[in-house]
Amino acid sequence: MHIHRLEKIWLVFGMSMLAVFLIMLGVSAFAMGMQTPGSAHAHALDPTRLEETAPFDKPGVTQTGDKEYEAVLIAYGFGFNPDKIEIPAGSTVKFTATSSDVVHGFEIPGTTVNFMVLPGEVSHLSYTFDKPGEYLILCNEYCGVGHQSMFAKLIVT
């Protein structure tokens, strides 16, 4: 099939851009560690037995190193447990979250913290909070009639 010269130039340019985009995405994801959240390893757990499943039997924030914290959270209709996280500025928080009922979202506006929380699966994401302030954690997936009132706070001091 013959293709017009101008169209060839257009398509070659377009496809080269496409290749550049994809290589950039791939390199930053796999070589530089800017990975999609929650997908480091697949787990499965029984969402009806969270109170006897570590680490969700003890939701909360624990210090795991110098300026390193792990926040174990359970999302439920309609809130997060714990509903308040306090850390000093410059801390890296590793969020580990699951749901005890339906699908929820976990988003902190103004940051790149944004992932889904599914019952039976565990989501992981690390983020470093440099700026002090009060951050809003909100659910961004419809979870029922009280969805709009599902939020928590993260306070960086």
């Binding site: 995405l25 994801a29 992932f115 419809y142």
Partner: protein, 545 residues
């Protein structure tokens, strides 16, 4: 070509179109009210919930309006280009499909209004609706399958009667669109029939949530191409005739449809980039496949603008952009779809951002995404469909598109674009600030972030009201067209430039394309699906509304 549209076929086409406009009006009422609720302007009376409206809006717009309009348009295309009238079998299947889809829509709408299915149009498990809501969805999908078989039957009949001839371009495109739909809906059929229905009736206690989401999005992304491909049919074949030009290349048009068939399905993970349980490798593989649809999109953009420019120059246009002035700006049949094309440029660019693997974290589940698909489906596709309706209704009823209706149509298009500029613009910007989608009026206990979002909600409400006014104008035109004077309206079908290249026969080797499509799907999905089925966890159901 036959001069008038077959009357029996015309009835089938008109029934689909009018049902689509009815759904659009109801969905539009919901949409406008949502905008007002979320901006804090009104509270809903009579115990109606915001999420009920949202469910009705999504189902009626994304599933009902689009599917009915598309099937009506595709039947008109095959009747017109493949024999001048439908075979008995095709027409019967068209009516059976219409009846099943209509029944599904009525049942589904009643359940949503009764607050038995407030699960939004994506019905994510383990939210558990009434089992009859899922049965309504089955009726809708099975109806569309039967309509698809009708399209295939007409194609076979035409092939038998026209031996070695090249299939008319519009008919070919209708077949590809329906073939893609048959393959894509297998996912939603599997999750609804094997997971949701047994679970919602209580025959099984639990549901595999991750698996159901994956099967849904196997269907959910090609769904958007099912909306887009008929719009492309108009852009490739109808628009050249309306502007008095010719189709740039028949072969390139067919190539882009085949590429859409291949690359619109094995890509659903780009809707699940932010969720656990799927390994980064498989997400990225599907991201790469997603980006392959850039190729047919670039081909389309080139072909369309080549048609515009060649036509303008043939009419004596000079200079680099002189041809722009030769376009028939005052003809709504051109103007509405053309505005749709223009909007598709930012809309498509936004889509690339959404699908960009880790970059999705910036926009996932924010109003940016809502803004995005209100540009793609609710502007590019919708305006193209409105533009089609303006000549298709008179063409199938033996009436004329009057100058007055044409003027109203231009006004309707301008209003739609204006409303969308406010609404989608505000959605995009506040989405980037983190404003979540699918959320009732809230300030999160007066959090400073959400106070900042409020002016955007007001802009969305203003846009929504303008869009609703535009919708009322559209309904006025539809009523006007049904009563307009008897006469003949052209069904515009473009011809190919004389010096265009011959079309290779390879494009109609269906077995080959189905096989390639199957291989891509198997490669993209087998390993992750095995992981989900073998290692996935089960959830009981919840009614959270």
């Amino acid at each position: 070509m036959h001069s008038t549209f077959d009357r029996k076929d015309g009835k089938l086409v008109l029934a689909h179109l009018l049902f689509a406009y009815g759904a659009l009006l109801l969905g539009g009422v919901c949409g406008m009210l949502q905008g007002m609720v979320r901006s804090g302007s009104i509270t809903l009376p009579g115990g109606i919930g915001y999420y009920q409206l949202l469910t009705a809006h999504g189902v009626l717009m994304a599933l009902v309006f689009t599917t009915f309009f598309i099937i009506g348009f595709l039947y008109s295309a095959i009747s017109r280009t493949m024999g001048g009238k439908l075979g008995e079998a095709s027409r019967s299947m068209g009516w059976i499909g219409f009846a099943l889809m209509g029944a599904g829509t009525v049942l589904g709408t009643i359940l949503i209004l009764l607050n038995k299915a407030t699960v939004l149009y994506t019905f994510y498990a383990p939210l558990k609706a009434s089992p009859y809501f899922y049965i309504a969805l089955v009726l809708l999908v099975v109806g569309s399958w039967i309509s698809g078989y009708g399209v295939f039957a007409q194609y076979r009949k035409w092939r038998k009667e026209n031996g070695g001839k090249l299939t008319p371009l519009l008919g070919f495109m209708a077949v590809v669109t329906m073939l893609m739909w048959q393959i894509a809906t297998l996912g939603v059929a599997a999750t609804v029939l094997l997971q949701f229905i047994p679970w919602s009736f209580g025959w099984t206690d639990t549901i595999n949530v991750l698996l159901s989401r994956t099967l849904f999005w196997y269907f959910g992304h090609p769904l958007v191409y099912f909306w887009l491909m008929p719009a492309y049919m108009c852009w490739y074949v109808i628009i050249p005739k309306i502007i008095g030009g010719k189709i740039y290349s028949d072969a390139l048009a067919r190539l882009s449809f085949i590429l859409l068939l291949l690359f619109s399905i094995p890509v659903g993970f780009h809707h699940q980039l932010m969720e656990p349980g799927i390994s980064p490798f498989w997400k990225f593989l599907q991201v790469v496949l997603t980006f392959m649809v850039v190729v047919p999109t670039l081909i389309t953009a080139f072909s369309l603008f080549a048609t515009f420019e060649l036509n303008g120059r043939a009419k004596g246009a000079r200079g680099l952009f002189g041809w722009v002035r030769k376009l028939p700006w005052k003809d709504v049949r051109f103007f509405a779809p053309f505005m749709g094309m223009l909007v598709f440029i930012p809309a498509g660019a936004g889509g690339l951002i959404n699908a960009s693997n880790q970059m999705n974290a910036v926009v996932h589940n924010t109003l940016w995404v809502t803004g995005h698909f209100h540009l793609t489906v609710a502007t590019s596709v919708a305006l193209t469909f409105f533009g089609i309706g303006y000549w298709l209704i008179p063409a199938v009823t033996g009436r004329v598109l009057t100058a007055a209706m044409n003027r109203l149509g231009i006004a309707q298009t301008v209003l739609w674009c204006l409303g969308m500029l406010f609404m989608s613009g505000a959605m995009h910007v506040s989405g980037l600030l983190g404003n979540p989608r699918r959320t009732d009026y809230t300030t999160y206990n007066d959090s400073p972030e959400s106070v900042l979002w409020m002016p955007y909600h007001t802009a969305m409400a203003v846009g929504g009201i303008i869009l609703f006014i535009s919708l009322l104008v559209l309904i006025r035109i539809v009523v006007g067209l049904l009563r307009s004077p008897k006469g003949k309206t052209e069904y515009p079908i473009g011809e190919v430039y004389d010096n265009a290249e011959k079309t290779p026969r390879l494009f109609e080797r269906w077995g080959l394309w189905i096989a390639v499509s199957a291989v891509l799907i198997v490669v993209a999905y087998t390993v992750p699906l095995i992981g989900m089925i073998a290692g996935g966890s089960e959830s009981p159901g919840y009614v959270m509304w």
